[in-house]
């Protein structure tokens, strides 16, 4: 087996594109992930997260562009045991027990972790003797995580690892995940839960319609959008007039109240008070990541295709 990957390579996606018929699942994605980074691919359904992950894993061939995993093509990285993946699909094999399936996965890798240790850290030890077909959703998810982890890969790719889990299940999963990957693994996970990306990733890559629309720490993404709102009671002013104010991105009216979405609340507030001194009950609120997310991913919505996600599978 090939020895551990050279440091410094990381994961490099350049000019990556993949279409399914008329649906452009991924278009022109450039991304560099350093070794040891934990990166969240955040985006709504159909954003291209799964397609991107499948291309990093070599499950899908890109139409254009290249993928390099620690300096090697995906097929070499996978064959060398540098990569572990937790796919969205892939229920565990039938007629096997939890412990057996983790043992089986371990046998494929050159330097696996001890099976018992992995069962412990992933919280699967308590049901290790259970048949794989008799697991709850949360248990099955842990088994799949244990199966991805036991090979001791340098890169872990997790495609929506907490989909279909309740809040408690998600918390427990991430706790296990943190403990298990403390020793400098590169982790890339896809999610559409903002709080997960925010809490567990060093860096967030926001995908929409197959493109990267933002990339950076959570705080930086918020700053870049600068989505903050001003609420005020201001009757008799048109939305168009409000939208035209400097620093304002958009305006909405709810009865007497108006809500201004701003790129710069300081400028917008000054301009509004100067032009419409009658404004009352003024509130300025900082944008949440949720708002930033909606704002960024709403760009170019007209070309969205609900079939993209299905096709991306």
């Amino acid at each position: 087996m090939t020895s551990a990957p050279e440091a410094g390579g990381g994961i490099v996606l350049s000019g990556l594109a993949k279409s399914y018929g008329a649906v452009r699942a991924v278009r022109d994605v450039d991304l560099v992930i350093a070794p040891g980074e934990t990166v969240a691919l955040l985006g709504p359904n159909g954003a291209g997260k799964t397609t991107t992950i499948d291309m990093i894993l070599g499950l899908i061939k890109p139409d254009k562009g290249t993928v390099s995993v620690f300096g090697a093509p995906p097929s070499v990285a996978v064959r060398s045991g540098w990569v572990g993946g937790m796919l969205q699909t892939g229920s565990p094999l039938d007629h096997l027990r939890v412990r057996e399936i983790v043992t089986l996965m371990a046998s494929y890798y050159p330097q696996p972790l001890p099976v018992d240790e992995v069962l412990q850290t992933t919280g699967a030890a308590e049901f290790a003797r259970q048949w794989t077909t008799k697991l709850s959703g949360g248990q099955a998810q842990r088994v799949r995580f244990a199966a991805a982890l036991v090979g001791n890969p340098d890169l872990l790719l997790l495609d929506e690892p907490t989909a279909a889990l309740d809040v408690e299940g998600r918390r427990a999963f991430w706790q296990a995940m943190r403990g298990a990957t403390a020793q400098g693994k590169t982790v890339v996970f896809a999610t559409h839960y903002l709080e997960e990306a925010d809490a567990y990733a060093d860096r967030i890559v926001l995908l929409a319609h197959g493109q990267i629309v933002a990339d950076g720490p959570a705080t930086e993404i918020k700053a870049r959008v600068g989505s903050r709102t001003i609420r005020a009671t201001l009757p008799d002013v048109t939305v168009t007039a409000l939208s035209a104010l400097p620093g304002v991105r958009g305006a909405e009216r709810h009865g007497d109240a108006v809500v201004l979405t701003c790129t710069d609340t300081d400028v917008a507030l000054a301009a509004m008070l100067q032009k419409f001194p009658g404004a009352k009950d003024i509130e300025v609120t900082g944008g949440t990541l949720e708002e930033a997310f909606i704002e960024l991913t709403a760009i170019d919505d007209s070309t969205d295709d609900p079939g993209a996600r299905e096709a991306a599978k």
Partner: protein
């Protein structure tokens, strides 16, 4: 190491499926005793009925055993496990070899059990004759392994299981597994002689007589296998490009 554990679980998964042991061991054994014991002194197709029917039931059970990997492939595709395999260092060749070896190992208990059952009803063969029969089975079962792969790669899980059952029963019926032959001369017989299942059923008589299969049998099995292997390769490639 890798392949040993993989092979072990491959076999374990199959043996734990109650349907598998029922079809490969239980059913042939019950059919053998219930039909052959009443006719243990009769002759059929130029040999003793117990020898004929022992070989036929061994062929029947072994055919079920050798198409079983196909059913597992279809299930692994359906559950997404095949994709999971493809992102591990496990080579396709290792996986493929494990399935072939597994198919033969899983057919082995059927042969042993039916040979013992045959002996209990007075089938007497020398050690080399038993071995020759087992050897002919090894060769004659090859097309069924490949048919299993093809249907497993091409069909969804439920359809694959049904199609595999259909293939086994049809080949068994035409090959004379059920103790009667649909034709012993004419064009229908020519069709039957073109089937690998016919030659499996003949393996007992062949071993008793010594001298092995006629050239015709080797050609039939070789042609079936040679034609089916590229089809299986195409089916696999189709699956790999879409899965």
């Amino acid at each position: 190491m890798t392949s040993a554990i993989h092979l072990r679980y491959e076999i374990l998964r199959t043996l734990r499926n109650p349907l598998f042991s029922g079809l490969t061991l239980g059913l042939p054994l019950v059919l053998f005793y219930s039909i052959a014991s009443a006719q243990r002194h009769k002759t059929f197709d130029g040999t003793s009925f117990p020898l004929y029917f022992m070989t036929a039931m061994a062929a029947y059970g072994a055919m079920w055993a050798t198409v079983a990997p196909g059913g597992r492939i279809a299930r692994d595709v359906a559950t997404g496990w095949l994709r999971q395999m493809r992102i591990t260092p496990l080579r396709t060749r290792t996986e493929f070899t494990a399935k072939v070896i597994g198919a033969y190992l899983l057919a082995l208990p059927t042969l042993i059990l039916l040979f013992l059952a045959g002996a209990s009803l007075g089938v007497r063969l020398g050690a080399t004759q038993w071995l020759e029969m087992a050897g002919l089975f090894l060769v004659g079962l090859a097309p069924f392994i490949v048919i299993g792969f093809i249907l497993g790669y091409l069909l969804p899980s439920d359809a694959a299981a049904a199609a595999l059952a259909g293939v086994v029963i049809l080949f068994a019926l035409l090959g004379g597994v059920f103790g009667f032959q649909l034709a012993t001369s004419g064009p229908m017989f020519d069709v039957i002689k073109g089937l690998p299942s016919y030659w499996l059923v003949q393996a007992g008589k062949t071993a008793l007589g010594g001298g092995g299969w006629p050239a015709e049998a080797w050609i039939v099995v070789a042609v079936w296998t040679a034609v089916l292997i590229p089809v299986a390769a195409l089916a696999y490639r189709r699956l790999a490009s879409t899965a």
